[in-house]
Symmetry: C2
Subunit: 377 residues, 2 copies
């Protein structure tokens, strides 16, 4: 087969995104055993770093050995049982995925639906929660399929008043935008490593509030999914170090190193950098006469921009030209937004003035090439 | 936090085991997107390599985005439903784990139990299968907790005669010992990357027979576990490339490179190398007056040796001295074998005459140090 020789890509999509160089170095370091004291030291560093980026003091903060979707399945399978009343605030693809997982685990799923790109107000959420009285509510903090950023308290406040636990999908926000889990009132938050944390995919950062831990400990029957059972995982990563599965050591090295790079920069400074780059991105996009898909500026994900595809432009042609001629990956829309938006991530090492210049230099060129003749004139 | 600086370990345990140097290099190579044509090219190379080491022509051969235990959960969750009659041949810890997963998924689990370290004969298996008439039967090919190697046909032949599908746990054998899935009659085989394949943990190689694919396609209700749903995974890794989850790209690079190293050596030659090193290991262990836990030579896993702890020796002291003074990791026994066996892997880059010398040089020294004075004389 010869040696592996990947092309050099600039990952301006929703993820995986550009990786911090020292993370690559960490992955090439020697693996130790899953019960080695050094591994648990790394795990404690991962826990401490994740608490910082999540904005939480939750003791139960760890990384699940699977991708972001495994984190979603962990949240649903540990807290949603057959018959659980499960209210999902849905305005995009990933909320639909949460609802689908809930159905598969036998929950009574109620979807509160809004158009893709919208967010929910506290009044809307309260009305739905008081009507439905769910045991668990779920929302997507940064909806990767639409670019919309949901204010967490709008959902968690009324949910807690009604005694419901709150699942928050933080896959796209963690590490690039503030989540402030404790203030936000999210009881189970999950994320991924390959977006705001600038690591390769493979782990799912996860944090559980003390309130949710009580609910977990009170479970009578075990989680159906042994691999994602948080009780078993807490015995492995906790003081007992009771064997559960063989943790993916190199992925933990990567995550530890990505978090170290973030703490070196400073968590708040990193959020500000992403916010600045986002503001400049929007300014430049609008200067080109293009429109952002999410109308209200405060409802936009700072590290994932959704831009409306201009009339007469074939978005697939633009994406293909960016990849083939510039080595740049961005993503298109799907579902109701297929062909209608570009999804452009400005994250981690690419969320810089130089990253903006590189992206717009290529994007403007490819837009012209892919435009219909009438528009090109 | 500073830079990550792991200690240098020699992994002579059951796993993770020593990693092929070119695998570390592959992980440090630039990540591409999960829909990038290059990623799917890597995936095709992974499929082709896995077919070789599994010994199968199964078209449905892929890597699950989780560790070996995620592979086990994939096998159970896709083929065992509430009410499924599920016969587990149990003579060790990992068979018990399969049974536990079956119970959690609502199956009617019947355990056919033998002492830890035993294997099942075809007559025993036939008798149990004809009595119980299970829809699915499961066994562990290489039982990591005991060192015993189960002949697959002893179970698959009577199981197929009774119309049952066969799950085979190949976590410890894949890449170091022949499995020959097609000849062996295993319908769903799963494994891991960190043992016989000499890669870091993180993926679970998986293969499904055409017979089992028919059963999968005929499922009426979907797998409860969305993340491990083989139907959805087949649409992502198949020609449609329909998005499911973000594959852990760097782990795929690692697996691809580990498989490339194996194919460069030659699959059969690699099996022979492990068999030779195993024979020499047993010879040297017996020359020391020690005893192998599995009595019958043909029932021993060639790449994972279980050695009885001699009278008067504290196995934990030996393991601690090996790690602290020699950087060598081996494992002890657990469950009914706690304190009774050492589990010593001779795999991949360490399965060489030099690896044997290194191991025995340190082991003999630590055994003496950890022996009670009466024995030491």
């Amino acid at each position: 087969m010869g040696f592996l020789s990947p092309p050099r890509r600039f990952l301006f999509g929703p993820g995986p995104t550009q990786i911090e160089p020292r993370v690559y170095e960490a992955m090439a370091k020697p693996v130790v055993g899953y019960l080695d004291p050094f591994f648990f030291q790394v795990n404690e560093e991962v826990r401490a770093g994740l608490q910082q980026v999540f904005g939480t003091q939750n003791d139960f903060t760890l990384a699940i050995s699977g991708t972001g979707s495994a984190g979603m399945e962990t949240a649903v399978s540990n807290f949603v049982d057959p018959g659980t009343k499960f209210l999902v605030f849905s305005a995009g693809y990933f909320a639909e995925r949460i609802a689908e997982m809930g159905r598969r685990h036998g929950a009574t799923v109620i979807r509160f639906e809004k158009p893709w790109g919208d967010v929910f107000t506290e009044a809307e959420a309260r009305e739905a929660i008081e009507r439905e009285r769910p045991q668990v509510a779920a929302f997507v903090h940064a909806e990767t399929s639409t670019g919309a950023l949901q204010p967490p308290q709008a959902i968690s406040r009324p949910a807690h008043e009604a005694g419901a636990l709150v699942i928050g999908d933080c896959v796209t926000s963690l590490g690039a935008a503030p989540i402030r889990v404790d203030e936000s009132g999210i009881d189970m938050a999950f994320s991924c490593t390959q977006k705001g944390l600038s690591c390769p995919p493979g782990l799912s950062p996860f944090t559980v509030s003390p309130r949710a831990m009580e609910r977990l400990q009170a479970r009578k029957n075990p989680n159906r999914v042994w691999y994602l059972d948080l009780k078993l995982l807490s015995e492995y990563y906790g003081v007992q170090h009771r064997y559960h599965h063989t943790a993916p050591v190199s992925s933990f090295y990567a995550l530890r190193e990505g978090l170290a790079a973030i703490l070196d920069e400073g968590v708040e400074k990193r959020f500000e950098r992403h916010a600045r780059v986002h503001a400049e991105f929007v300014r430049r996009v609008e200067a080109m006469g293009l429109r952002m898909h999410v109308a209200t500026p405060s409802h936009r994900i700072p590290n994932l921009n959704t831009v409306c595809v201009p009339e007469g432009v074939d978005d697939a042609l633009v994406r293909r030209a960016l990849l083939a001629d510039h080595g740049i990956e961005i993503a298109g829309g799907f579902g109701p937004l297929a062909g209608k938006i570009f999804r452009i991530g400005m994250m981690g090492p690419l969320a810089t003035p130089a990253g903006l210049d590189q992206f717009f230099g290529a994007f403007e060129k490819c837009l012209v090439t892919a435009s219909a003749p009438a528009v090109r004139m």
